[in-house]
Amino acid sequence: MNAANYLYLSALLFTIGAVGVVVRRNAIVVFMCIELMLNAANLSFVTFSRINGDLNGQVIAFFTMVVAACEVVVGLAIIVTIYRSRRSASIDDASLLKR
C-alpha cells in the first residue's frame, strides 16, 4: 500500500469536517467538526513527516494538539456563555448581527 493513501484519507476527513461546519447547527458539533479538520491536518503532517523522513511534521502536529486544546478551552467557554444567555446551542439562533 502506498503511504500516500493517508493523504487521501486526510483530505476526505478534512472535507467532511468542513462540510460539517456548514451543515450542522449545534455549536458543539460544529466545533467538533473543526476539530476533525485539525485532526485531518495532523494526519497529513504525520504522513508527510514519514514521507520526508524528518520529525518536523510530528512536532507541528504536537503543537497543533496543544493549540487545539487551547482553542477548545476558549471555544467551549464562549459556547457555554452564549448557551447560558440564550438557552440554545444552535448557532442559527445567533443571528442578531447581519446585513
Binding site: A18, V21, V22, V30, D92, L96, K98, R99
Partner: protein
C-alpha cells in the same frame, strides 16, 4: 495717410456726455439734456472742422487716420484702436452729428415730461458715439465695436419705455435679430483674417487681388448678412416695425436716418470686396430689390403712422442696398439716397412725433384726420418730406432715387430690366402709401377721440423739423449738382468702365414720375373720396391682411425659428435633467442597489459565512486544478 490727433474728439465728446450723464445719475437731471445736446453739437462742429480741413487737401490726401492705441495683438492678429476719416465717412459723420444734434434739440421738448429724460439723452449720446465709431473705425473689427454699440444703443432706446412688456420685447427682438446680423460680420472678419491675415480696410483692399473669389464671395455674403440685420433688410427685417416702440426721436435718428443705413455703409465701404465677388454683389441687389418691395407692400397696409414710416424706411434702404449692389456706379447714388433719406425720413418721423405729441401719443392714423389746420408747421414740414420721398422734382428724393432707378435700368441685360421695373414699381407704391399717410393724417374729417386736443408743437420741436425740411428740399440738388457727391467719393471706388445706357435719364425720370402719379392717384381715389373708418375694416382682401401682418414675417419667424427653438429648449431642459443628470444619478443608484443586493450575502448565519469561506476554498482549489491540468 495723414495722421490726425483730433479725430478722437468726434467720438469722445458724445461718449463723455453719455458717461457723465449715466454716472452722475439724477444729479444731472437738470442740465443733462443740455450737456448732451451741446456735446452732440460740438461733435458736429468737429466734423465740420474736419470737412473744412479735408476740403483743403487734394483728393488723394483727404483720408486721415489717428491711431489711439494697440487694442488687440496676438500673433499676427493685430488690431489697433485707430480711426480713419475719408470722404465716405465724413458724409456719415456730418449726417449723424447733424441730424443727431437736431434730434437732440427736438427731444429736449419732446421728452420734457419724461422723468427719465436725462437717461434718454445719455443713450442718444451713446448712440452718436457708437455710430461715429462705426463709420470711423479703420478696420472691420473697430467697425464691429461700433456696429454692436449702435445695436446696444438702439436696444436701450427702443426699450426706453420698457415698463411696457411689448416694448421690452421689441427691444429684445431688435437686439437678437441684430445679433444674427452681427454673426455675419463676425464670419466676414474671420474669413478675412484667415485668408488675408488682416482685417483693416486698407489691408483687405490690398489683399483682394490675390485672394480667391470663393473667399471674397464668402466675405461678401457674410457682410451682406450683417447689413441685412442692421439695415432691416430681408430676411432680417422683422425687428424694425417693432422698434417703433421707442420714442419717436429715436425712430427718426436711429431707425430712419442713421443706424439702419449702416448696412449701406458697410457694403459701400467694402466695395473692393463686392467688386471682386460678383455673386455676392448680385445677391446684394436681389436682397435690396426684395426688401424695397417688401417694405413698400407693408407700408400700404399699416395704420400705425410710425410703422408705416418704418416700412417706408425699410423700402428706401432697399433702394440704397440695391444701389450699392450695382457696383461702382451705384455706390455714390446709394450714399446720396442715404443722405437725402436721412433728411426727409427724419423730418417725417419728427413730424409724426409732433403729431403724436399733439394727439396724446395716438399712433393710429385712422384716429387722425384734418390735422392740417391744427398743426400747420408740422403739416408743412411733413409735406416737404413727402414730396421729397416721392421723388418729385426738385425735391431731394428726385435726384437720389431717380439715379438709383436709372442705374438699375442701366446695369445691363435682363437684370437691368427687372431691377429697373422693381424700382419703378416701388416708387409707385411708395407714392401710394405716403399719400395715404398724408391723407389719413392731415386731410379729410377728424376722427380723433374727444380727449384729444391737437395742437402745434413748441418751437424746439418744429425748428429741427423745419431744418430737416429744408434739407429735404435742397440736399438732392446740392449733392448732385455737378455730380458733387459722385466726384467727392470717386477716389474711393474703382471704376471698371461704363455700361451702355439702356434708358436715358429723362426717360427714367418720366417713367418714375408717371408711376408716382399713378400711386398718388390711386391713394386719392381710395382714401380721399371715401370715408375712412376709424377702426380698421376687417373684411379686407387676403393681401391686405397679409400686408398688415408684415407679410407674415413674424409668423414665419415664429413658426420656423421660435417655436422649434422653444420646443428644443424645453426638450433639452428635460433631457438635461432626465437623461444626463439621470445617467449620473443612475450610476449612483446602481451602486446603491448593488450595495444593497450584496448586503444579502451577510445573512447573519455563521454557517452561511462558513459556506462562503468553503466556496472560496473550492474556487481556489478549482483554479489550481485548472492550472495544473
Amino acid at each position: 495717410m495723414i495722421t490726425s490727433t483730433t479725430l478722437v474728439y468726434l467720438i469722445a465728446l458724445p461718449l463723455a456726455g453719455s458717461a457723465i450723464l449715466l454716472l452722475a445719475g439724477r444729479r444731472s437731471d437738470k442740465w443733462g439734456h443740455l450737456l448732451a445736446t451741446a456735446l452732440s453739437a460740438s461733435s458736429f462742429f468737429v466734423g465740420l472742422y474736419q470737412l473744412s480741413l479735408m476740403l483743403g487737401r487734394s483728393n488723394s490726401e483727404r483720408p486721415i487716420t489717428q491711431k489711439l492705441f494697440e487694442w488687440i495683438s496676438v500673433g499676427s492678429f493685430k488690431i489697433d484702436a485707430s480711426l480713419m476719416l475719408d470722404q465716405l465717412s465724413i458724409c456719415f459723420v456730418l449726417l449723424i452729428t447733424g441730424v443727431g444734434t437736431l434730434i437732440h434739440i427736438y427731444s429736449i421738448s419732446y421728452m420734457s415730461h419724461d422723468p427719465d429724460r436725462r437717461r434718454f439723452f445719455a443713450f442718444l449720446n451713446l448712440f452718436i458715439a457708437a455710430m461715429l465709431l462705426l463709420v470711423l473705425g479703420d478696420s472691420y473689427l473697430n467697425l464691429y465695436v461700433g456696429w454692436e454699440g449702435v445695436g446696444l444703443a438702439s436696444y436701450l432706446l427702443i426699450g426706453f419705455w420698457n415698463q411696457k412688456p411689448a416694448y421690452a420685447t421689441a427691444s429684445k427682438k431688435a437686439f437678437v435679430m441684430n445679433r444674427i446680423g452681427d454673426m455675419g460680420l463676425s464670419f466676414a472678419i474671420m474669413i478675412a483674417f484667415a485668408t488675408m491675415g488682416t482685417v483693416s480696410f486698407s489691408g483687405v483692399k490690398e489683399a483682394v487681388d490675390h485672394t480667391s473669389t470663393a473667399a471674397l464671395t464668402g466675405i461678401g455674403l457674410m457682410l451682406l448678412v450683417a447689413a441685412t440685420g442692421k439695415s432691416a433688410q430681408f430676411p432680417l427685417q422683422a425687428w424694425l416695425g417693432d422698434a417703433m416702440a421707442g420714442p419717436t426721436p429715436v425712430s427718426a435718428l436711429i431707425h430712419a436716418a442713421t443706424m439702419v443705413t449702416a448696412g449701406v455703409y458697410l457694403i459701400t465701404r467694402s466695395n473692393f470686396i463686392f467688386d471682386a465677388a460678383p455673386t455676392a454683389q448680385l445677391l446684394v441687389v436681389i436682397i435690396g430689390a426684395i426688401t424695397l418691395m417688401f417694405g413698400a407692400l407693408i407700408g400700404t397696409a399699416k395704420d400705425d403712422i410710425k410703422k408705416a414710416l418704418a416700412a417706408s424706411t425699410m423700402s428706401q434702404i432697399g433702394y440704397m442696398i440695391l444701389g450699392a449692389g450695382l457696383g461702382p456706379v451705384g455706390y455714390a447714388f446709394a450714399i446720396m439716397h442715404l443722405l437725402t433719406h436721412g433728411f426727409f425720413k427724419a423730418g417725417m418721423f419728427l413730424g409724426a412725433g409732433s403729431v403724436m405729441h399733439g394727439m396724446n401719443d395716438e399712433v393710429n392714423m385712422r384716429k387722425y384726420g384734418a390735422l392740417r389746420k391744427f398743426m400747420p408747421i408740422t403739416f408743412a414740414t411733413f409735406g416737404l418730406g413727402y414730396l421729397a420721398i416721392l421723388g418729385v422734382p426738385p425735391f431731394a428724393g428726385f435726384y437720389s432715387k431717380d439715379m438709383i432707378i436709372e442705374t438699375a435700368f442701366n446695369s445691363g441685360g435682363a437684370k437691368g430690366i427687372i431691377l429697373g421695373c422693381v424700382t419703378l414699381l416701388g416708387a409707385g407704391i411708395t407714392a401710394f402709401y405716403m399719400t395715404r399717410v398724408m391723407i389719413l393724417t392731415f386731410t379729410g374729417k377728424s376722427r380723433w377721440d374727444d380727449e384729444a386736443h391737437p395742437h402745434e408743437s413748441p418751437w424746439l420741436m418744429w425748428l429741427p423739423m423745419a431744418i430737416l425740411a429744408i434739407g429735404s428740399v435742397t440736399s438732392g440738388y446740392l449733392l448732385s449738382h455737378g455730380d458733387a457727391l459722385v466726384n467727392w467719393l470717386s477716389p474711393l471706388f474703382e471704376h471698371h468702365g461704363e455700361h451702355e445706357e439702356l434708358l436715358s435719364p429723362m426717360v427714367v425720370s418720366g417713367l418714375a414720375l408717371a408711376m408716382v402719379a399713378i400711386g398718388v392717384a390711386i391713394a386719392f381715389v381710395k382714401y380721399s373720396r371715401n370715408e375712412v373708418a376709424s377702426v380698421a375694416p376687417t373684411d379686407v382682401s387676403i393681401f391686405t391682411t397679409i400686408a398688415r401682418q408684415d407679410l407674415l414675417q413674424d409668423r414665419f419667424n415664429e413658426a420656423v425659428f421660435m417655436q422649434p427653438g422653444q420646443a428644443l429648449t424645453a426638450v433639452l431642459v428635460k433631457t438635461d435633467e432626465a437623461v444626463i443628470d439621470g445617467a449620473v444619478r443612475g450610476v449612483g443608484r446602481v451602486a446603491l442597489g448593488s450595495g444593497s443586493a450584496l448586503r444579502g450575502v451577510q445573512t447573519g448565519f455563521v454557517r452561511s459565512y462558513a459556506a462562503l469561506i468553503l466556496l472560496g476554498a473550492v474556487a481556489l482549489v478549482a483554479a489550481i486544478w485548472v492550472v495544473t491540468q
